[in-house]
């Protein structure tokens, strides 16, 4: 497996941040672990706030 040149390397934390919240960084490369929602998809709470509060 190819290794990056030392000057190209960034820290593991920086790399994970760059790749987004679903990516896992390993010696193997990157892969995405994606979990669908357990509830039916709809928009997240309204920008108007929670109506019952």
């Amino acid at each position: 497996m190819k290794r990056n040149n030392p000057q190209d390397q960034i820290t593991r934390e920086e790399a994970i941040k760059k790749m987004g919240k679903y990516a896992a960084l390993t010696a193997m490369g990157t892969f995405l672990i994606l979990n669908p929602k357990e509830a039916h998809a709809s928009s997240p709470p309204d920008p108007g706030g929670i109506p019952f509060e």
Binding site: T26, P36, A39, H40, A41, P47, P51
Partner: protein, 378 residues
């Protein structure tokens, strides 16, 4: 060999492999080279075997084989963890409260009655469907009751309990209601939905194109623009897919927030005349733009082979390009409900393998409309 850890289904899509793990209902996207390494891991009983396979195939230096082995072990432990945390709480049969807030709606040849426990609840469900409201009706096909008891909201259908959520998670109940209503108006079996996507979908007579993107990316505004330019709106915000793999019409109006009022007013004369609603305690202004075509006369369901990730920014140089499956899937899947039934996960993967993925970044509305015109007429 580690058959217990192997994914249940594997599908090659573009440059990637996508794996499905039954216990966690997880989808994992891998590159070809990572997939080969994973297979060596699954086909090895011991670390030594794994290391030998990698060395023989020139895949890695010996020093990192241990890291790989440990990482794959932990990754597969994670994806094989039982993720079924949904506890089916027993709900005692509640007395459905009487209410004066009864509304009747027409969808094709069906009349649906919605009984709302309060005006606050009514505001969560009625404005999107107000264009289907009817005054006179002969009989009602289905009655939904939505009411609040304590800090919970309840959804009943023909006096049978369907679903409940906390008032804080009211949008989860909105999603469930949308699916129940879709089931009724299309006369489908509620257990046979494959997935529901957080997407707006436009169509012509032959095909549907799904628009996805994070909330605030401009999916609804773009849908309204496209509708004003001759496209049919199959659904806004909530796109259901049945086990025939087609996307189904959800005839709710498009919700447009105040920031986009000007854009839509330039394209649609009627928009100015629509009522403005004030949502939530913060009184956010919203208008609901109904679909142009009535439910009865429009196409009820269509195949979809194109998904577009959309993002609006006034600073963009507009562009419309094909993108990698990875880019689309990382927005599509975490924002969707996908049935955890194995046969449906298999169908979902099969459907994905036939999809073309695009990205539309735009600052110019005409550019966006022209791009879609070209795509959907090709």
């Amino acid at each position: 060999m580690k058959p217990d850890l192997a994914p249940k289904y594997i599908q090659s899509i573009g440059q990637s492999y996508i794996l499905w793990f039954e216990r966690s209902n997880s989808y994992v996207v891998l590159s070809n080279s990572s997939y080969i390494i994973l297979n060596h891991f699954l086909n090895s009983s011991t670390f030594d075997q794994f290391e030998n396979k990698l060395t023989r195939n020139n895949l890695i230096s010996e020093t990192s084989a241990k890291d790989l082995y440990d990482e794959l072990s932990s990754f597969l432990k994670h994806t094989n963890k039982n993720n079924n945390t949904q506890s089916k709480s027993f709900v005692e049969k509640l007395e459905i409260p009487n209410t004066e807030l009864k509304r009747f709606y027409n969808f094709g040849n069906q009349t649906i009655q919605l009984n709302f426990g309060s005006q606050t609840i009514e505001q969560l469900f009625h404005p999107q469907l107000a264009h289907c409201l009817i005054k006179n009706h002969r009989s009602t096909d289905v009655v939904f009751d939505i009411f609040k008891v304590g800090n919970s909201l309840f959804l009943y259908k023909n006096e049978e309990f369907i679903f409940s959520s906390t008032t804080k998670d009211y949008y989860v109940l909105q999603g469930r209601f949308a699916l129940e209503l879709t089931t009724v108006i299309h006369k489908k079996d509620s257990s046979k939905w494959l997935s529901t996507f957080h997407a707006s979908t436009i169509c012509n007579n032959n095909e549907a194109v799904m628009l996805i993107g994070d909330s605030g990316n401009g999916k609804s505004t773009l849908s309204a623009l496209l509708m004003a330019n001759g496209f049919d709106l199959l659904s806004d915000d909530f796109t259901p897919q049945y086990n025939d793999l087609e996307l189904y019409r959800y005839p709710a109006a498009i919700s447009i927030k105040k920031g986009a009022f000007n854009i839509i007013e330039n394209e649609s004369k009627e928009f100015k005349t629509l009522e403005t609603y004030f949502n939530g305690p913060k009184n956010i202004n919203i208008k609901y733009l109904p679909p142009l075509k009535g439910f009865e006369t429009s196409k009820k369901h269509l195949p979809c082979r194109k998904i577009i990730y959309v993002k609006y920014s006034k600073d963009y140089n507009s562009s419309f390009n094909k993108v990698s499956e990875e880019k689309i899937l990382k927005t599509l899947i975490p924002d969707a409900w996908i049935s955890p039934k194995p046969e449906y996960a298999k169908q979902f993967l099969h459907w994905l393998s036939d999809i073309e993925f695009f990205e539309l970044k735009y600052s110019d509305n005409q550019y966006a409309v022209q791009s879609l015109n070209k795509l959907i007429s090709d």
